[in-house]
Amino acid sequence: MSMRRVVVTGMGAVTPVGIGVSSFWESLKTGKSGVRRIESFDVTDYPTKIAASIPGFSPEDYIDRKEARRMDRFVQFAVAAAKMAMDQAGLVITEEVAPRVGVYIGSGIGGLATLEDQHRTLLERGPKRVSPFFIPMMIGDMASGQVSILFGAQGPNSAPVSACATGSNSIGDAYQMIARGAADAMICGGAEATITPLALAGFCSAKALSERNEEPERASRPYDRARDGFVMGEGAGILVIEEYAFAKARGAEILAEVVGYGMSGDAYHLVQPAPEGAGAARAMRAALTDARLNPEQIGYINAHGTSTQIGDVAESQAVESIFKEAAKHTPVSSTKSMTGHLLGAAGGIEAIAAVMALREGILPPTINLDEKDPECRLDYIPNVAREATVHYAMSNSFGFGGHNATLIFAKTNA
């Protein structure tokens, strides 16, 4: 089956290091951390007291006040980022094109803050006081629902869930939707907002989070010997992607091309990666096959790299197993060292980082990399951004449950 070409025409980001793509990218280039002490609730009894939050986000800047009140924070992030992406794309959804424009925006966890809030109401005040908006605010598909309502996008609409691979799976699934002809344009990506008492407690109990509370900005340190877990982040990363001829016909600026998507399942463990990152390797290989590329052609990998002991090693081993000799000189960085781990939104903002690296010829660094773990043997672009002309960039995302998703973007000669 001959597949149609798919290009990126709009990007929107709400992140702990900046709201809007230019602010986000400026922070990545300059190695700025978005990790800070949690102020939104009392963290006295928690071993982890830090997160990559977005204290400056004001939903009223993007959404009518009444509508904003009916949205969980993750949906507010998604709507704000989608507006930015649609503004950049300049895509007007007329009655004629509406059925050909779809939305795929996933969330790893969904409206947890709403759930916690309403559960408290249930326990303290009884079932008759639970809000009629509780369910439609909480369910994880609602970013896709609300964005489609806002823009009148009547095409394919769903919301993949694959934990921390959600953002990449959403973009990859949307890309395939266009490639096989089911849509001409898709608004896609991921959104997450789980810096909440319950989520923090759960991740703490799972021993997944960094406890470097005294140095928040130094806490997320992928591949560094002294790393001690990931830092939870929040936000949204949304792309507008379109079929090539559809974008050209309306004179849209093409930011990059989506050329490869691969996915796999570890079939191994709830939270641990398969030994030697075997599942991650299968996703990377599948993406390379889809893109008809050899590993040597990849000029930059935006790694999953969450700053956990096992995960960083497994992904590095997976890169070595696929890239062989090329692994030694292929630059790899984890922008989570700056943004924290946005869970279901990670793949969204990291796709944007990959596209910006292609466009600007600048590879964002892995900050806080003072002493490399001897088991992590790749070139991680330590601490300082690097100039490099790159033709193809890969972005990896892996999730609890053993979901692995890899995207490949190509530079366009615009």
């Binding site: 009518d64 006040r65 009444k66 009140r69 809000s131 009629p132 908006f133």
Partner: protein, 77 residues
């Protein structure tokens, strides 16, 4: 009367995101103030809290305008 109306008005403005001037006694929640079925359920809950009373589903169904609410609350006070 004016006190009840003012309190109802404040809740309606806050919940439905409308201008105070729109909240007239003859304004219909659905037709004039843009409320959907979920808004109405939430509004009834807010009114129950504000005026410390219970509004049955049967009574709630009869409320269609701001004036209906004011009248209902006064009849219960």
């Amino acid at each position: 009367m004016s006190d009840v109306f003012e309190r109802v008005k404040r809740i309606v403005v806050d919940r439905l995101g409308v201008e105070e001037s729109q909240v007239a006694l003859n304004a219909s929640f659905k037709d004039d103030l843009g409320a959907d079925s979920l808004d109405v359920v939430e509004l009834v809950m807010e009114l129950e809290d504000e005026f410390d009373l219970e509004i049955s589903d049967e009574d709630a169904e009869k409320i269609t305008t701001v004036g209906d609410v004011v009248q209902y609350i006064q009849s219960r006070e």
